[in-house]
Symmetry: C2
Subunit: 284 residues, 2 copies
Amino acid sequence: MTQEGTQGADDLTGFSINQMTVRQLTLPELVKGLTEQGVPGVGLWREPVATYGLTATARLVRDAGLTVTSLCRGGFFTAERPAERAAALDDNRAAIDEAATLGTDTLVLVSGGLPPGSRDLFGARERIAEALAELAPYAAERGVRLAIEPLHPMYAADRCVVSTLAQALDLAGRFPAERVGVVIDTYHLWWDDQLAAGIARAGAEGRIHCFQLADWTTPLPEGVLNGRGQLGDGAVDFRWFDRAVRAAGYTGPVEVELFNEGLWAREGIGVLAETVARYRAHTR
Amino acid sequence: MTQEGTQGADDLTGFSINQMTVRQLTLPELVKGLTEQGVPGVGLWREPVATYGLTATARLVRDAGLTVTSLCRGGFFTAERPAERAAALDDNRAAIDEAATLGTDTLVLVSGGLPPGSRDLFGARERIAEALAELAPYAAERGVRLAIEPLHPMYAADRCVVSTLAQALDLAGRFPAERVGVVIDTYHLWWDDQLAAGIARAGAEGRIHCFQLADWTTPLPEGVLNGRGQLGDGAVDFRWFDRAVRAAGYTGPVEVELFNEGLWAREGIGVLAETVARYRAHTR
């Protein structure tokens, strides 16, 4: 799948870059850039895929020989009103269908925060479990696994009440491992003193469905959404993570997913090349 | 200690407001405001105390009949260089002396983040334990308890590598409970699905040395330092916290500590009155 003659491309086996990292690129620009750099995988997002067209995207990446390592994202399961819940489930079924069409077996789930005005974390978490129970069989029939992403606790109120790997595993544990697993994203999890045990457990249970890299840099920007650092710029020890997931038995792709205003303001192909270089420098 | 005739003041038994909540007030203004509102306790910070004078502050609060519920803050134990470590320990001994002079038994510790350029969370945590071992006997001789404050994980890189209550308890557990305990601050801990068990454990071990309230509001401001919400404005269920710490056997003070640019821009006595009203409305 990698380009002939790309120096050092062999060490990029299993490597993937999520399209949000270079959202300034169109899908054809992204696919061309990845193949030229020898990157064999890509993580996709529903919105830009819809803009380019679902079947057109599926054809584009397949023809380029790229592996779609994940689709972001389903989730947002915590609404209380029946109509909102029904709409969320419908949207997740659509996301599962899109994942299947794109040829990826992994749908990443951002589970949802507290409904407006609510302080009921316990209720919100139970509604996530109920939604998973409803969606997991639908996903399984289409060969898609639901990957619960524990998000950093700073997102607990407004994006995701699942905040640690152990918590995500407890939730996933209600379902078969081939149907519901977890995302290990370094940005969200690096601070946790229970992380080594959590990664070992996730591997032993066969629930590491996705492994994503981003660095933790400070100061955090207002709103704390778009400050994920380029690899090597921050506090995350990527070699530690890489060793830990491999020791836990993980052999799947490694995907870099950055949301960063500074990177988005730059020329995208240069950001791709930098990301490949940083991956080589900081994980190998 | 409360003013005669202050309506409803009885339900403020054990209530305290940290001076950072109204940092726009001088110490005499603060003390006058608290006594007029019937608030029996105050949490102090070293810098404004030093500005007013240590012995003058001690006299001021004692004469007003206020209980000093905590002194913020010691800590910052994670430096690697010997000279920096020695300076940090000296500064913490000074903080312990100041706590004793002010008549509080509780020094709050912000343990410190990663040294610049470091990614070694494990080493940083061990240096905290070493510092506690050196300081705990010194503090105990002066009747001061060291209260480890787990800070929200969004501060792990630059302020505190102790991020959960369980982690703080594991660290405190190396020392006698009357010497080293923990701070339970709603702002830092509210998101944790293991919190109920942690609070029960902290109470059973006799290690709840300080209980602080602030609400979680979004969006977070740039740098995420000064966005702690007024009680009732955010996601924290204060009644749940109050019940949990009391069920765990805690009978100590309850201190409101807000860092909020919006509150600091307002007239301070009005903020004090609002804080008392919010405390009554959201915890009782």
